[in-house]
């Protein structure tokens, strides 16, 4: 599956895996540099860049002013002219300030110029709820960018994948937007040493099963796997697909799975309506898998509300393990 032979592994957190990927990329390629707010001596709001500034210096680990639109645009301009910038949004929510450069410029420049340029920029988006940071620091807006041809939008869910997909993103000639759920930063997992890539646009089957396909993104992959474990005790055999990339989307892996299980549930943290699950459901409705469905498709997504501050309310805003278990059980037993 992965492009390179993997060597020894050790346990790293998701944040450490990102940092390691960026360090490897900067060592391999002098065109690679980092830009973002407080990513230098501060180490980034989530300590993802950590002490990289000490190793690579302030010119390659560049603090920017609080200027999301300008900063993103500078990254785009640097990418078009030969550099390989990695731009960190402090919180993905702040990318709303930079939509012009992402959507109108980065995504379209190659097309508008008839292929005369490429835009090899990587942008990193710390996203998601669960930190008590309320409505403007907790959103999952990846579907916004997933709607834009010209961008690639990925959501790695493990330390292994985030390192390999980030390295793939840096190699990629086109703009890659990487959504990182903040609650994953401390999650640990086995990560190979050295350079390797994980391809963009390929989903991963995390658990094989016969009764139901769950397609999940980001942190919902882990919640869905927990749910699948509980459901197994009840004799319900769930297949869990980690989508990993929402643009391009690995449709075939989902279609094949649904043809096998005859049931589909989409689990994602972004607002349910017009979200990633809407696309997956519609895609299945248009595919040969439609004839295999034994039950209506179910979507579990974020509530139709801003993310609230109160921890109980906040939890109720996005799918949780219990909810996934119940919805899956109802779907398989026909109780819904």
């Amino acid at each position: 599956m992965d492009a390179q032979v993997e060597t020894a592994t050790r346990e790293l957190s998701y944040a450490q895996a990102i940092q390691e990927a960026m360090a490897i990329a900067m060592e391999r390629d002098e065109r690679v540099f980092l830009m973002g707010e407080d990513i230098g001596v501060y180490g980034g709001a989530f300590q993802v860049t950590g002490d990289l500034v000490e190793r690579f210096g302030p010119e390659r680990v560049m603090d920017t002013p609080i200027s999301e639109l300008g900063g993103a645009g500078v990254a785009v301009g640097a990418a078009v002219t030969g550099m390989r910038p990695i731009f960190e949004f402090q919180f993905s929510d702040f990318a709303t300030l930079a939509m012009e450069q992402i959507v109108n410029q980065a995504a379209k420049m190659r097309y508008m110029l008839g292929g005369a340029v490429s835009v090899p920029v990587v942008m990193r988006f710390p996203a998601g709820s669960g930190t008590g940071a309320a409505a403007q620091h907790s959103q999952s807006l990846e579907a916004w960018l997933g709607h834009v041809p010209g961008l690639k939008v990925i959501q790695p869910s493990t330390p292994h994948d985030v390192k390999g997909m980030l390295l793939a993103a840096i190699e990629d000639p086109d703009p890659v937007m990487i959504y990182e759920h903040k609650l994953l930063y401390k999650m640990k997992g086995e990560v190979p040493e050295g350079y390797y890539t994980v391809p963009i646009g390929k989903a991963a089957v995390r658990r094989e099963g016969a009764d139901l396909t769950i397609v999940a993104t980001s942190i919902m992959v882990h919640k869905s796997l927990d749910a699948a474990k509980q459901l197994a005790e009840e004799g319900i055999d769930v297949e869990v697909i980690d989508l990993r990339s929402i643009r391009p989307m690995d449709r075939q892996t989902i279609i094949d799975s649904v043809c096998k299980t005859s049931r589909l549930m989409c689990v994602y943290e972004g607002v349910k309506t017009l979200g990633v699950g809407a696309e997956i459901s519609a895609m299945i409705a248009e595919s040969e898998a439609f004839d295999y469905l034994d039950a209506p498709v179910v979507r579990l997504g974020g509530a139709e509300t801003p993310i609230p501050y109160n921890p109980e309310l906040e939890k109720a805003t996005v799918p949780q393990v219990d909810g996934i278990v119940k919805a899956a059980r109802d779907l398989v037993t026909g109780a819904r």
Binding site: T64, G70, G73, G77, E100, N104, M109, L113
Partner: protein
């Protein structure tokens, strides 16, 4: 900036001649005039083709602003880069693009610079350092700063010129871009072509300071006001800004005061300005007429030389339109080509 043309200066009194006559040889100056004609006749040709239904969509003409485009690009090489605006035909030609491929782009043909995907609003010739016109007001400002960051990091010695209009100076991108260019001392020159109106809204109604160059003070960079209709004044300000940029001293904001003769775009009913105002600019301050008279005065060209340039440009425009007409349309099957980079 006050390199006002000393019209009374004698031909031999070199020290008193305007900047460009001291800086560039005569061939270069004649070519500057040729480029001004090329811009004007290109836009007239594009306008006519539009009226005849050969070009669809819309376009934003810069007729009347030729001295700014040509004066700014006069001392640049192909390696120096520009970002341009929706009113960007002049910048593209001044930087060295071929009008045939520009016409082909406007006609939507595969031989166009953008293979028919961009049209007037995204015209670009990357090979001569033009990173593209832009449909978003202020869109090119941060991109130019990024290109300048590349120049600094790669130590290329190139400068980047960021063209924008008076309207863009009220975008947030203007503030963010100028501030970053200044704190990082990047080799970029911000060139505001102030033609008096952001679509229909006058600068006086839209901008709190009388001159856009006044805003440079907020970024601790020089702010220079020039008569944007005088080639030498524009080129002199640009020369100083370029020196400063190449010496690592950082950006400059140049404000070229100029005027567009035509409306904002093809939908403009011209209700926000008077006929008299337009007439006055066209008859009293036309940049091509002024430059032509100056070149004659300084003995760079004579009437026959001017006629030869005009005739040469006319033929080039004619041939360009013909090339565009005859070029093939893109295949619909290739609609999605260039969305992503084709990978081996």
């Amino acid at each position: 900036m006050s390199a006002t043309a000393k019209k009374s200066a004698s031909k031999t009194d070199g020290a008193n001649q305007p900047f460009i006559y001291r800086q560039f040889d005569q061939e270069k100056l004649r070519d500057a005039l040729r480029k001004m004609y090329l811009i004007r006749q290109f836009e007239e040709g594009a306008e006519e083709s539009y009226m005849r239904g050969l070009i669809h969509g819309t376009m934003h003409l810069s007729i009347g602003q030729e001295a700014s485009a040509v004066g700014i690009c006069l001392g640049l090489s192909d390696e120096d880069q520009i970002t341009s605006t929706h009113r960007g035909h002049g910048h593209c030609i001044a930087k060295g693009a071929d009008v045939s491929r520009m016409f082909a782009e406007f006609f939507g043909k595969t031989t166009g610079y953008c293979r028919g995907r961009g049209g007037s609003m995204h015209i670009a010739d990357v090979s001569t350092g033009n990173l593209g016109a832009n449909g978003i007001v202020g869109g090119g400002l941060p991109i130019a700063v990024g290109a300048a960051l590349t120049a600094k990091k790669m130590k290329t010695g190139n400068v980047v010129v960021c063209f924008f209009g008076d309207g863009a100076n009220n975008e947030g991108a203007f503030h963010e871009a100028l501030n970053m260019a200044a704190i990082w001392k990047l080799p970029v020159v911000f060139v505001c072509e102030n033609n008096g109106y952001g679509m229909s809204t006058s600068v006086a109604r839209a901008t709190a300071v009388p001159n856009i160059a006044d805003r440079a003070a907020a970024y601790a960079m020089p702010g220079v006001i020039v008569n944007g209709n005088v080639v030498s004044d524009v080129a002199e300000a640009m020369h100083e800004a370029t020196e400063r940029a190449r010496n690592g001293e950082g950006p400059t904001l140049i404000e070229c005061k100029t005027y567009r003769y035509r409306g904002h775009s093809k939908s403009d009913r011209n209700r926000y300005r008077t006929k008299e105002e337009i007439e006055e600019w066209m008859t009293e301050r036309d940049p091509i007429e002024a430059f032509e008279a100056e070149l004659v005065e300084f003995g760079v060209i004579d009437a026959a030389g001017i006629e030869a340039i005009r005739e040469g440009v006319r033929k080039e425009i004619e041939a360009g339109i013909e090339f565009a007409k005859e070029s093939p349309m893109p295949e619909v099957a290739n609609l999605e080509k260039y969305v992503y980079t084709e990978q081996a």
